[in-house]
Symmetry: C2
Subunit: 453 residues, 2 copies
């Protein structure tokens, strides 16, 4: 019987534990989770804030009890792993209730410690009423604050996925929302022209978007509660009863790094395609680990649940003694913002240039189904390498129907298709369900013409 | 200046003419179309019958006038090509109004004569009020019949795409509808288990579905109008004021075959990947031509507008002197039936066996987005070859959202992915827009487990 320890009880850790136990029921698997919950969907946080999700339990897939009953996997919560002694194959854990330290042995260890939000260097960032989101408990804290303080004005600092979703949730709750981004655009995963469409959608729904403005200080009232966000330029002061910060995340690698686990160029844990670290018997998966990027063919840091779950699945197979490979990822992501969806896969123009490609782009506006079925046209941007004519990335802003083609582009990237090959993909059409030429294909056709010039 | 003739003014012919003219504006291109319209969407016919499309002109992209004005391409309608003299590079055409014969010369000729519906061997099939659909004029004829005869009961013979869509349109118009299919299932492009879900949806919306029943005779009233469909078994008689027949289509190849153009094993025109026939300067594209099937790697007959348009594009490039290749197709198709969508790509189980594979399948029911956003789960079936573990096909029945993953499967088939590779595709997720594991990935994961057994 083999003993497996998993540090971190979310996407990667949970998936790995479940997969390993399924493949080999004789494994003794223990998940160690620092927070008080396991197996939750942090992505659901904005929808708890908006009121769509009535109870946080709706976002929890398993409790430690149900995990043991249904899967035979032990999970200890409020249990922080403070030291990894890799040579001895032991870890030291600190339990919160009752407070004590234990040393546990393992045959194989999976580090799935995830990410944590960056706390920006802003004066007053720890004032009451300033929040970030990385654990389900944050949802509780934000919701309680909103109710108990009767918040009417929210300031969101940072226009990433979560910032956009929280801004929408705050509008849904009736708050006045200002979104401040230090960059010259919001949602920097998209090219500026595509991000502008998202900005327009936010503005259309009453969100006051301020780009290229850096928050300098968060001011508090006398009672210590947040009062306003002061901007660096122009001495502007944005009143707010709540401030939500989403300026990026970093991999949680302290445990690993202190134990001699090698980090990669991105600062996340370096892993091979078996999800093995440099230390024998120590694996890493999820948002603390690097991901092989299938377009750049370099290590990348992609802090998304989708990649974490897939890495977890492969790690779980290897924990169970298989020899499974993770093929890598292309960084596909999607966000709904009011009535539109914005999606991206692969590289944007800046990322393509940075990776040494010579990007050439085409952007089209096309309908995702027959005009008599209605719906607004979507904007589709495709990016290729001028020399190799290889597809490098795609961005879609519009209806959910149109945006679903981002997954087709992701498959084309994975298969290293050229623009020509991808433009001939045999995609489905019926007037109510698609277009004779899917908008993605229209964009690819246009790009083939650009390449011919 | 080169003279190009295009026989057939729809998906393939129109696309080819437009593409060629765009690449080389000096080309003199003439489209010869036997019917009275060019560049229309026959796929829109059911939505004209249902009333969603108010006027047939909504389904017409170009008239001969607008095609000349906007694209500089001549189109002659009601102009039938009756003979191809390939050695002389000439064709003989019959104009309807005024009736005359012309002989036209060409440097390159594209045959894009499309398909025609099979008229089944049923006694009384030519009775008044019995219709098929292949031209936009059929829509007019059916709609006029429905109105003028105050039709209350419709019988649809054959449960293919168009049969299903017309059945729904008839229900939308308030008719009582019976759908009769000679096979043991409707919609035989799907496996029986998946087709059953479509049958259930039809039944749920009041369509009386009768499978494994063959129409023997269509009876007429004294005035010559259709009265009922009599079935071969059980002497059942289904009263109907209108009968719509959709029992399949065949490629229109008479012109080509009479001129010595070689047909392939499917009976459609044999073409190479440049869309060239065996005769110099004679190309074929669209639903009269074969398509290289990327899964079976054999010639196939895929009578769909999507494939026709893509072949037309490549043919047009070659007509303009380029050297373009058509990669082939995987037979992706989709149909909406009341509140669900049914989609398929690649091979079903029967087709996989017929092609010499050893199919292994997995079917799952999974949600296409977070449960708190609602929507019914979708059924996803994936088929692989047991020996090579290569993905062979996929079928999805459920919401449009879930069915959109059929295009991802199509891309995976085109790239010849194994089940494992496809199961790791980096697809987008956000709670309102997707699932952490896309239902397609859930099915593929299940199939990897089946393959491990």
């Amino acid at each position: 019987m083999s003993r497996i320890l998993v540090v971190g009880g979310n996407a990667a850790g949970m998936t790995a534990a479940s997969r390993a136990k399924r493949l080999d029921p004789s494994l003794e698997i223990t998940i160690l989770e620092a927070s008080s919950r396991i197996a939750y969907s942090i992505c659901g946080l904005p929808y708890f804030l908006s009121g769509l999700v009535r109870d946080l339990s709706e976002l929890e897939l398993y409790s430690p009890e149900s995990l043991m009953n249904e899967r035979g996997i032990e999970a200890r919560v409020q249990c922080r792993v403070v030291e990894l002694r890799a040579l001895q194959r032991k870890i030291v854990v600190e339990h919160a209730h009752p407070a004590r330290r234990d040393t546990l042995s393992y045959d194989k260890l999976l580090i799935a410690t995830g990410y944590r939000p960056i706390t920006p260097d802003i004066d007053g960032v720890h004032v009451n009423g300033v929040f970030t989101a990385s654990r389900l408990g944050d949802a509780d804290a934000i919701a309680s604050w909103l109710s108990s303080k009767r918040a009417r004005r929210a300031v969101v600092i940072g226009g990433g996925y979560v910032g956009l979703e929280v801004a929408e949730a705050m509008v849904a709750r009736g708050l006045t929302v200002t979104l401040v981004d230090a960059a010259t655009q919001i949602f920097s995963t998209l090219d500026p022209d595509m991000a502008k469409l998202v900005e327009d959608e936010l503005s259309l729904h009453g969100v006051h978007v301020m780009t290229h403005r850096r928050a300098r200080r968060i001011a508090a009232k006398r009672d210590g509660d947040v009062d306003a966000v002061e901007l660096a330029a122009g001495s502007l002061r944005i009143p707010g009863d709540l401030v939500f910060i989403d300026v990026g995340v970093v991999p949680s690698v302290e445990l690993a790094a202190n134990a001699g686990v090698a980090l990669g160029p991105t600062g996340a844990i370096a892993v091979n395609d078996r999800l093995e670290t440099n230390l024998p018997g120590v694996y890493a998966a999820g948002n603390c680990a690097e991901t092989h990027h299938l377009v750049t063919e370099r290590p990348s840091f992609i802090p998304l649940g989708t990649v974490a779950a897939k890495q977890g699945r492969v790690a779980g197979e290897n924990l169970a003694g298989r020899r499974s490979r993770f093929i890598g990822a292309v960084g596909t992501s999607i966000v709904k913002v009011f009535d539109i969806v914005a999606a991206k896969t692969g590289l944007n123009v800046r990322e393509a240039e940075h990776a040494g490609f010579s990007p050439i782009v085409s952007t089209v506006v096309a309908r995702a189904r027959a005009h008599y079925f209605g719906g607004a046209p979507a904007s589709v941007k495709v990016i290729a390498d001028r020399d190799s004519e290889r597809l490098l990335g795609a961005q879609i802003v519009g209806s959910a129907r149109a945006a679903s083609a981002i997954d087709v582009a992701a498959a084309a990237l994975t298969a290293r298709m050229t623009v020509r090959e991808a433009s001939q993909l045999d995609l489905a059409y019926a007037p109510p369900a698609g277009a004779l030429w899917n908008p993605l294909l229209v964009a690819l056709n246009t790009l083939t013409r650009e390449l011919e010039r």
